[in-house]
Symmetry: C2
Subunit: 428 residues, 2 copies
């Protein structure tokens, strides 16, 4: 279904040669893309959404092939659900592309302007990063999501999806490229890896200087492998071990509502609370804990937490470093904010940590001292999301310390250059 005539033939190239060829094409296309204006990039994305709607039958047929192969290989129901497309989900993919089209283009923004001691004007201007590799698993919507965010910010993308979704990804990619090329975007700006060969992924991870950044989107084992093997900078989060600390002066109702939401709204997302720290001076501990237990959450507590409700099981050492992604929560009773901060410093994965309190000084101390990408006062950690942050979309959440942290959207897919405007200055 995808016209592969123009893509490099992986059977005749080594993994390194293949990546070099794909990267060379992607980089050349990116240089052309960089000269396409804001409105035309937005138009190209709208054309991609239209093309995906037009190709619905072809895409769903390709997805049915993936699904039947996956069923034959005995994939779990949850895996099949992630893989599955239908008319409604495909419309969601198309609308998401249109949403990205409507976001402001960060490219060209003047970040700073100053005058050098020798008189030149110095402008730091936002530019695309270049060629971004996206490595993902079974959700085919990532093909369109990642492609549209990269294109909106002027980057070329090299997409490598999961083997289970190979037909769906090819069909989505073909429609996307057909759409954007109507507006003059070079086809090679958005490339799908023409092989599922794992060695090609290995070569991509090592292609420093050819690929500018890698974004892995998927489970812990995928991200860990990418972080371990990559020579190219990686933007990723490995774990979301998010804490909620209920301070002595928390409003009891707010504490219960935030704790319930942070854990139980959706247990499988990276912003879900995994550890609850309750201050020993908070009067309504049992209330919060029984609300969680009543909602069907398994609680694993330290000795003091266990005394509060006999349904609480004992936690072992590992529990404090576990991302359950399930209706399970570890609970510790702490003596004051100092102990809470120590626990978080020792066990947080640097994703999102929350304090619930009516005491502004305690809140400020928590916001200042917790060293995570996102720190919240009186809000559910489930808000850790690009859309909820008003960014319009996200390519992922980063827990590293450099470049971009927390929800990463278009701005995180850009870098800058210094433009120096002189009048003939020579350095003395």
């Amino acid at each position: 279904m995808n016209d592969m005539s123009n893509t490099p033939d992986p059977s005749t190239l080594s993994p390194e040669e293949l990546i070099k060829e794909l990267a060379t094409r992607g980089r050349a296309a990116q240089r052309k893309l960089a000269r396409i204006g804001d409105e035309r990039k937005a138009e190209a994305l709208r054309a991609a959404a239209a093309a995906i709607r037009r190709d619905e039958a072809t895409i769903l047929e390709a997805n049915a092939k993936d699904l039947s192969e996956a069923e034959a290989r005995g994939l779990s129901g949850a895996m099949l659900d992630r893989l599955k497309l239908d008319a409604e989900r495909l419309e969601g993919i198309a609308s998401a592309i249109e949403n990205v089209a409507s976001l402001p283009d960060p490219v060209g923004e003047e970040i700073s302007r100053s005058e050098a001691p020798a008189g030149m004007t110095l402008v730091r201007r936002r530019i695309p990063i270049g060629l971004i590799g996206i490595i993902y698993e079974s959700r085919p919507n990532v093909t369109a999501d990642a492609a549209s965010l990269c294109l909106r910010s002027g980057n070329a993308a090299l997409l490598r999806g999961g083997s289970e979704a190979v037909h769906s990804n090819r069909a989505l990619h073909a429609a996307f490229v057909k759409g954007v090329s109507q507006e003059g975007v070079p086809e090679d700006a958005i490339q799908l890896m023409p092989t599922q060969d794992r060695e090609a992924v290995g070569a991509m991870l090592k292609a420093a200087g050819l690929v500018d950044m890698i974004v892995p989107r998927g489970g812990k084992s995928l991200v860990a492998r990418v972080q371990e093997d990559a020579r190219v900078p990686v933007l990723a989060h490995l774990d979301g071990i998010c804490h909620t600390y209920i301070h002595a002066d928390a409003d009891p109702e707010m504490a219960r509502e935030i704790a319930l939401n942070a854990k139980m709204r959706r247990t499988g997302i990276c912003g879900a609370m995994e550890t609850l720290l309750i201050d020993s001076l908070f009067d309504d501990c049992t209330d919060v804990l029984s609300a969680l237990l009543d909602a069907g959450c398994e609680l694993r507590g330290d000795a003091r937490a266990q005394e509060l409700d006999d349904r609480i099981k004992p936690a072992d050492d590992e529990d404090w470093d576990t991302e359950y992604l399930d209706a399970i929560l570890s609970v510790a009773v702490v003596n004051g904010i100092g102990e809470a901060l120590e626990h978080i410093a020792a066990h947080s994965s640097g994703h999102t940590d929350v304090i619930v309190t009516a005491d502004d000084a305690a809140a400020q101390r928590f916001l200042d001292e917790v060293d995570s990408a996102i720190v919240m006062h009186n809000a559910s950690s489930q808000f850790a999301d690009g859309g909820e942050f008003g960014l319009g979309a996200e390519i992922g959440i980063a827990t590293g310390r450099l470049h971009a942290r927390g929800p990463v959207a278009l701005e995180g897919l850009t870098t800058y250059k210094w433009q120096v405007l002189g009048q003939g200055q020579a350095r003395s």
Copy 2:
């Protein structure tokens, strides 16, 4: 001379254990440092400068030991000069620390403030990166330079200098730490690696999660090794293959002055021009070239350049990718800005590239399309420097694409976190 009683004993620990111990101490100290205010950090740096002045005799004695050992090992005169300290150079080191003390502290700055769709206030606030590893060669001043920039921006530093300068570095480090600790800065905030063992450097490069960033400062082989082996993010530049393109509409006198300055002011710095591209329609080619030749520069040209002056030697393919760091320059004649941009895209190291022209449209095209950390119009590439950019100092020049590009000073040693100020919001 340095009180090593409190530092870990490298003889009883494996390289990995040593780095873990140093990093644990450094990280704990950084958390304390993060709570020390702006003015106190500045005071601490002024105390460090005073301590270095007070310890002049001890430091120069240590340096004399390094020098005599280096001479005995037959180090070159240039190497000895890099290593050498005297009263004047030591005063330069102390004043540089005071200069860093006077720079505005970037920590705490509000980068952005917005309202989330659910009503929380979102603040992106600048924070220190954490623990920064600095790996450098024979110049002992880097010990104080790097330490003061890290400390000013609230970071802990783990310094590893060259073996030739081991006594000088220890003496400088001891004085620096003595000074800053008078103002309550924990001693472990600025640690000097207690061994010159190369395996300890290897372990430091791989200490992802313990060391947050590595900045190599030194020659190409050091930087290449760091980039190859590191699992920790690296901020560095490998090469400075800087181009100057003299456009057809360049002012002849300005072109000559900029070319001479960009090449000959100091040939050994990374911002020195290494390739001159002259437009075939620029009328005063011979003038510029003979000025360079008369100034003692060796020119290696393509066929057309060689026709312009019989003192020009032939360039071979390698010349276009060579950072001479010497009074040697490769010269190519190009037909128009398109050819100049192509040459630069193929051969620039992404450091600094310059156009000289009176044509604003050509200048704008060059500034937009050249994809280097620094692009200049009508100025010498020798201005590629943190001081000349008004940043007050620099930890280095970065040619990577992520986090920070070009001259990196205090802001490049920071990251940010999201502070989310809610009123009890739960996600629907």
